[in-house]
Amino acid sequence: MSTTSPSLGRMSPPLVAPRVTQIVAKTLLWAATALTVGVLVFIVAFVLRRGLPYVTGDFLTEAPRDMGRAGGILPMIVGTLYVTAVAVAVATPLGLGTAIYLTEYTRGGFLTRVVRFGAECLAGVPSIIFGLFGFVFFVITLGMGWSVLAGGLTLAFMILPTVIRTAEEAVKSVPPQYREVAYTLGASKWQAIVKVVLPSALPGILTGIILGIGRSLSETAAVIFTAGSSLKMPVSLFDPARTMSVHFYLLAREGISMPKAYATAAVLVLAILVINATAYGLMHRFMKRFS
């Protein structure tokens, strides 16, 4: 471009007409989006195409036989949901409590920054390290053994940073006027948080929880060391369990049965899709009610 002063009227015309720039930019953005969606669809389609033909009623309702070469994956489905439920049940109150404390009760001081930094670091720790920690701490030191509880707690710590960060952002984005309105109507600080701040922040909080659920459902490394890989149906919190992703990993890794492995993967992918869709549906209905 020219180096003359950019006074209006004397500027040299742009090398490319703005309309062309516009079209090029739009095309590039469209291509990026198409590529992203394309890759996603490809992966899902790949897994479903290989796995779905083997997903039958029996596959969903039977226990595995012969190390998983035959039979179904009912104990794995139960184990996955069980471990995830424990993780979410532990991480939600802890994460939400931390987020509320940080945003509402500290004035962005040193503590807030330390906790936030810690959470960020925690979020970057590879899941296998969580698995190792869970194994040493929950399984061995606390004597929980390989169990739903040990697996769930490990996953809880793994998803905690996500839950804290998203909840914090959600709580912070609630307009401060809402709190003041609550105060002027006789609410205490706590009542203002519970009755006004949290309902407004709920969609954001739920987003974090949904992300956490997704990670828990699909996590392999952190649970194989902590929940174990038992093929039996877990009943109590102290029973060992094998999650679907661990089952898939073992079936594929040991070359036990590729069809069963893909069928397991297909169920896992569908489960994640269904759970996300349901959660977002609920969220949408809730948001409609509150605005």
Binding site: Y178, E180, Y183, L185, F290, S291
Partner: protein, 263 residues
């Protein structure tokens, strides 16, 4: 200069709120100093003054929001029916219920009209549906909003127009059956019709409750105020019955402000 008729000066003489030698500071900046003000029961006390003169700070001190939310340092005394607010003689929740507040910009909560109105009463322990319904209707009527919304109480409050939202906020404060209502420029940004409706509502309300009305509309102060206090740079310059302040201000600064020489 002022063409509106004045309201009679024979208003109640009992003191509802008394402010004695009040000063308010945010950090090192003093925003109110040495303010003395007596607010009489069942009257409309208008507060006027240029931007930054401390009107909002005064209002937010009367319900202690300045201390709780803004972290202001407050010295002096503020009494409500003789009870010292700064000494905590009235519990905070009780104070907020007895002294309602309406902000300058309408602040509906993101929920239905009905839920906005019953928020305060529910917190105060009103549970029965019939009681809540009665409070909703009476407060909406007092705020002159009932006819416009009676068929759509379930609609989100955010769907109302700005003027309706502000009247909803007044109704919401009234649903707690307060003794005092603090209003911070409630008509700024509203059309003349909405403004008129709010002024009518306030005039009617002042037969039962005490109203402190901050306004940067001098004519509004003249129309509805029984007494008017003029603030300038954190000081209360003059406080007098409306007719006197507007016709024969005793302080030259008041005169300057009213004749548009500054502000």
């Amino acid at each position: 200069m002022i063409d509106a008729p004045y309201r009679g000066a024979e208003v109640g003489e009992r003191t509802k709120i008394e402010v004695v030698d009040l000063s308010v500071r945010y950090g090192s900046s003093v925003v109110l100093r040495g303010v003395n003000l007596r607010i009489r029961e069942r009257s409309i006390h208008a507060i006027i003054g240029p931007a930054g003169s401390g009107k909002t700070s005064l209002l937010r001190t009367l319900n202690l929001l300045a201390i709780e939310v803004d972290g202001a340092r407050v010295d002096g005394a503020v009494t409500l029916d003789g009870k010292h607010l700064l000494l905590g003689e009235v519990p905070l929740a009780q104070l907020r219920r007895r002294v309602g507040m309406v902000f300058a910009s309408p602040q509906p909560l993101p929920r239905s009209i009905y839920e906005n109105l019953v928020f305060g009463p529910r917190l105060a322990g009103v549970r029965k549906r019939v009681d809540l319904d009665a409070l909703v209707e009476s407060s909406l009527r007092q705020a002159q909003l009932w006819d416009e919304v009676k068929d759509r109480l379930d609609v989100s409050a955010l769907k109302l127009s700005g003027g309706q939202q502000q009247r909803l906020c007044i109704a919401r404060a009234l649903a707690l059956q307060p003794e005092v209502l603090l209003l911070d420029e409630p008509c700024s940004g509203l059309d003349p019709i909405s403004t008129l409706k709010i002024e009518e509502a306030l005039t009617e309300l002042s037969e039962r409750i005490t109203i402190v009305l901050v306004t940067n509309n001098t004519k509004q102060a003249a129309r509805v105020g029984d007494r008017v206090a003029f603030f300038l740079l954190g000081e209360m310059v003059e406080d007098a019955p409306a007719d006197r302040l507007f016709t024969a201000p005793s302080d030259p600064r008041t005169n300057d402000y009213l004749s548009g020489r500054f502000g």
